[in-house]
Symmetry: C2
Subunit: 126 residues, 2 copies
């Protein structure tokens, strides 16, 4: 995933507040371009340009249905970006688990030293 080019486009697409507003709307269900434009203070062509960036990134898909262009979120690209955060958090939490285990061990060492050698129970290693 390190140099996943799709992630470059997904994160670049999400770096704009109007595009995030569009994705926020689409996470509640499919919407037409006019639905997406409604909360945004911009022209329809400007909205279409933002939509284009979202579609290129793979986050959103749209298709014409009669005279209306309907848009929906693309779960694959969304999950890839979400997964990037999840992986970082996982390695970071593993680090804190190791730190906690280390400190628990240190504490056990101190306690063992204080009680001298009376207990024979092995100390916990995680």
């Amino acid at each position: 995933m390190l140099n996943h080019p799709a992630l470059d486009l997904v994160f670049a697409a999400l770096a704009d507040p109007s595009r995030r507003t569009m994705v926020e709307r689409l996470s509640r269900g499919p919407a037409s371009v006019s639905d997406l434009a409604q909360p945004l203070d911009m022209s329809l062509p400007a909205v279409m340009q933002h939509l284009q960036v979202l579609e290129t990134s793979g986050l959103v898909r749209s298709e014409k249905s009669g005279r209306v262009r309907m848009c929906r979120i693309e779960s694959t690209a969304f999950a890839a970006a979400e997964g990037w955060f999840a992986k970082r958090r996982a390695s970071w939490e593993r680090r804190f688990d190791r730190l906690e285990a280390f400190l628990a061990d240190e504490g056990a060492d101190d306690a063992t030293a204080a009680r001298s050698t009376k207990t024979s129970k092995p100390r916990r290693r995680r």
Copy 2:
């Protein structure tokens, strides 16, 4: 959170594969600038520029300790970006829950119709 300016900077910072590699390294623990540069095929000044973007976004903090600049991840900015995805996923899953409930209701209607009016148990509404 809709127009959170910090999110603009965080997502823009993550739109670059070298900067993501730096954050990936930092999620495993604090690192010096040379540690961060090690897997990247670029000059130290280029790494420093990327670090500057990460620091401006709030994702990373660095401080000089003697002759070494040590960098660490900033959990607040990280959590804000991660939280943006979590909120989208939550509203999207609520939508699927409602859809599922609707379909279950439709199914219950069909079953009730098929069994005529023999059962008096009220059908489940979620």
